[in-house]
Amino acid sequence: MIECEDLTKYFDSFKAVEGVTLNVRPGQVLALLGQNGAGKTTTVRMLTSVLTPTRGWARVAGFDVVKHPGEVRASVGVLTEMHGLYGRMTAHEYLDFFGQVYDLAPARRKHRADQLLEYFGLAQAAHRRSGEYSKGMRQKLALARALIHEPPVLLLDEPTSAMDPESAQLVRHEIARLRSSQRSIIICTHNLVEAEMLADQIAIIYKGRILIQGTLEELRRQLLGPMEYEVKLSGEWRPEEFRWPDGARLLHAGEGEIRFQVENPGVANPLIIRQLIEKNSQVVSVQETPRTLEMLYLKAMAQVAEGAQ
């Protein structure tokens, strides 16, 4: 479990992170989104006891990051932005080294290293120096290092940034598996499609502060309002004859299509469709207007820019 409240870090007068409050329960993935330099890495560094917070507190896997840094670091698997591999060590030696750092028994170290290298498709290259690896292979090895001690908490910075689609999918499956085995996971990413696929919670950080936080659905409601639907019609449609149910409003009416917003789609949508049919409009299709995380993110950033003006 990861919890922090009012987590703040100043570097002299520069406010890198201010008042960050997060709560990631076991079995949850939180995607921390934000521009470069927004404070994501500083937050992660405080959560791994690498940096001491200026203000606020954080507990990771039940340990306070200031009072019990050793226990915190032993419970966390970190994938850093730079992979941090030793180019003159083979993948097997590298994983064995970190296995020893995390105090794993020799047999367990070997088993975990073999298992992870096999899973990430690096078994064939296990005895090659990592300096000879491609960028994607390095990323996978770095991820294997973060997982070697089976930590209850994972902090992953851009876990699939350098990977080909197959490898990225493999990593996403692994993250999903880890979530289902009750790990608490924070992913810092610019890949919004991936964040949308994996995250249970999303937090957007801007200039060190959390702008907005919640589930994808909560964020959609908060930023983009109620659900939107699009109906394609083949017949004529007269807006003056149409009566919109409570909580529904027309957004756009064009040639052969209408778009509307509803507060309570379960009640309002059947009424709208029945009316269309009764008024001899030929309904070709009804679909929810896609509202991606990218749209949410850009909307949040646009609001910030408007506020700044």
């Binding site: 690498v50 050793g70 970190v78 932005e81 730079m82 591999l85 060590m89 030696e93 970190f98 770095a142």
Partner: protein
């Protein structure tokens, strides 16, 4: 975790890394094997030269001074090793996973200190030993030594 074995683990990793880095290995081999021999030859020629003018004192002081020179140059490799161990780790981003691991700061300092001193010191002593052996070899083989005013061949 107040365990010394973690500091040794860090040192061991650094040592393995050094032994695989030709930028460190090559100067060390040259400074251990070739440089003492070169100094020995240089000493011989210098002593022979100054002995022509009866400057025994210079000859007597030169050999011990060259021990210092032979020992000093391999030790300078420790600067490169230390640079690699601290600045290199930061530049390559390899320090971050270490800082996020259960290793404490003193494990890293002691481990890197050991790695930075063990090899250069060993190499330095080997270099001095080779130089001394070369010198004493000449003396024990019946050839004139450093205190002699006769030419040293």
């Amino acid at each position: 975790m107040k365990r010394f074995d973690l500091a040794w683990l860090v040192a061991k990793r650094e040592l393995i890394d050094q032994m695989r880095d030709w930028r460190i290995l090559l100067p060390m081999i040259i400074l251990t094997l070739f440089f003492p021999y070169l100094m020995n030859v240089a000493a011989r020629y210098t002593i022979n030269y100054v002995n022509q003018f009866g400057a025994d004192l210079i000859a007597e002081r030169l050999l011990p001074f060259l021990i210092l020179v032979v020992g000093f140059f391999p030790v300078t490799v420790s600067l490169v090793v230390a640079l690699e161990a601290f600045v290199g780790e930061k530049e390559r981003g390899t320090i971050e996973p270490l800082l996020s691991s259960p290793l404490e700061d003193w494990h890293l300092y002691i481990g890197k200190l050991l790695a930075g001193t063990l090899v250069p010191l060993t190499v330095s002593y080997i270099g001095i030993s080779i130089y001394m052996l070369a010198c004493t070899g000449r003396v024990s083989s019946g050839r004139p030594g450093i205190s002699s005013s006769k030419p040293w061949r």
